[in-house]
Symmetry: D3
Subunit: 141 residues, 6 copies
């Protein structure tokens, strides 16, 4: 009999500055498209990152060691973005406009391989909150 698959989700917060600005557009186009998020000197958020891993439950009772998941989330995301400027300080975001959508996609790319390799589960969702009223879900790339 195969064990059913369950999902484990872990959440962390990070604090970053960013600015929505597309270098291919004029200043007026950027201002129109991104509104206050295009503010020249940037703004910031306390982001919340939720990562969900899916897998069978082995004898240990754990889909993935929560501590391993936490370490991966810190090494792959937190250590690069916390107390940073997303557009100026984060190599893996270079060339991407730092919307929550693009953050979720970029975080997925970094998180999926080590979760599968070191944790043995399968990444199935990356959720990024910008403040308490809005969030983005990525289910794959």
């Amino acid at each position: 009999m195969t064990s059913p698959e369950l999902e484990l989700t872990h959440c962390i917060e990070f604090s970053s500055a960013h600015r929505l600005h597309d270098p291919a557009l004029t200043d007026a186009e950027n201002a129109k498209l991104y509104g206050p998020c295009n503010n020249l000197n940037g703004h910031g958020h306390t982001y919340r990152l939720e990562v969900t891993v899916r897998g069978c439950v082995p004898r240990s009772g754990m889909i993935i060691d929560l501590n391993v998941l936490r370490v991966i989330m810190h090494e792959e995301v937190f250590d690069h973005v916390d107390h940073k400027h997303l557009d100026k300080d984060v190599a893996f975001l270079a060339g991407r406009i730092s919307t929550a959508e693009n953050l979720a996609l970029a975080f997925w790319e970094r998180l999926a391989p080590p979760i599968e390799k070191r944790g043995g589960g399968q990444l199935v969702r990356v959720r990024v909150y910008e403040g308490s009223d809005s969030f983005v879900d990525c289910f794959g790339v």
Copy 2:
């Protein structure tokens, strides 16, 4: 290569009175079916509405302009229900018993067309919280 689909969720609160009462039933039947929610003079909630839109991520990095989504949520729902009596003041709820389930269905009907037309994404979930311990999800009508 097609971009993956992501989901964006936005949440707002509104404050309304309502009463669960089916005019086809006797008072005793209503009292039994709906319990304290059938209180003659009504009661109320701080509702929370979460709306989820699905779509590909274009060059702008945004599935849908959050401000457009916010305006649609206000025009189609908030402006009709906030600081209102759901059963007496809201034309689009006429003839529906105002359970969270029926609210979610009615909000879906109002939100889906403008989100597709003005926002370009696809409505995939309407969640309605009644208080902090209970909520209803609608995935289509």
Copy 3:
């Protein structure tokens, strides 16, 4: 040596309808003073009530038995206001305009005597939340 005084706070939620309306004013004056809160058919909230009791810590380690406090909060407030219309169903609110301020005052009057008599502590704060963004504190009457 006297033991220091500590404070214990307990919180409950209730769901009520109400309407802000002063019978001594004209309809136009009410509409101007209370805005959407004056809506003819009322509106509602999920209220949160926080009650704080102060006292020394006896050998039991408990300022007041949390279960006694919970029973008092239910008997004196919750059972009268939950799933009710504050202006039509609640005897002890008769003649009061049901702002959060007046609710806090009325709850204080009901809660202070039994907390002192049955619980042995001293009521020092009644906090009433209307939604998640606004609350009123009463420290005595």
Copy 4:
């Protein structure tokens, strides 16, 4: 025409002690596998249980009577685990290592039959929070 299916979710909290320990492993192996969760004298959590029921919306407007769902959640889970030691006091957890994953599986087994029988809906998700930053979802057994 068939009515669409919606989902209703209700949440409760409970407070329990537990210890992660596999009797088939040595003490050193347990300490390595479970880390601080293997502490000899146990530790504890304020757990949050979210139960989701799926069904069509009948004339009453309710997928399932929320009060029936609440009673089932209390009878099948809360009354057995609240203010208990999960490994020593809970018969239906005997022989299971009390990870959140295994709790979710065990709760599913207990909740699914009465929800279908007494409530008429279908259990589709059991979510168990350990603290505010981690949770497990079970979608079936």
Copy 5:
């Protein structure tokens, strides 16, 4: 008989970038004093501002019109800081190191006069949250 004094609190969120840096110190001293908050390109937060007003409860039942308080909070604080860089875009913060402590002091100075003049109550507390785990309270200047 004088009415007792109550307190009304209202909360709003804003999203800003900032950097802790004292121009009178060397780069090494700044790095040591402010740690990651001194990151050259800045970082950001979703701040939460709670403002508390004290006053007697007049016949209207309202210490201060919540809408007036909300307008003052927006005009004096939100409109200047939301989606801005606190150190580069906010005139009234010029020359201050933008710690939560200094924000609370600066907000107090701006909020106290209009609350007294237009609202008729007395400002008694300004609370500034940086993320969900830390906040500062100012009780006067």
Copy 6:
């Protein structure tokens, strides 16, 4: 001119087991006094500890270095109580019945000296949450 005093609060969570039991009472007396909290095998909570420090704001803009406060909270409290049994594993709680009141008193005793010595501020409040609906405040010993 003296700078006004402000307060900084920081919060952390910890997960512990405990049992309310007074060895000077009979089993029946304990069961009556503490109810389900007297369960023989114990129960547990996700506790939340909020610590408030008061002080003037120096040139740095910080009442106390938040990192220093965080280290003190971990060294003096978290490292001793997280993933522990409060009654069996924590030396500084020996002989105390582990109510939230007594925890707050014991934490105060440990936190006040290092906060004054290493941080330079004055401890003015220790708040201990047991779950999300109840908390205790200690203002001194």
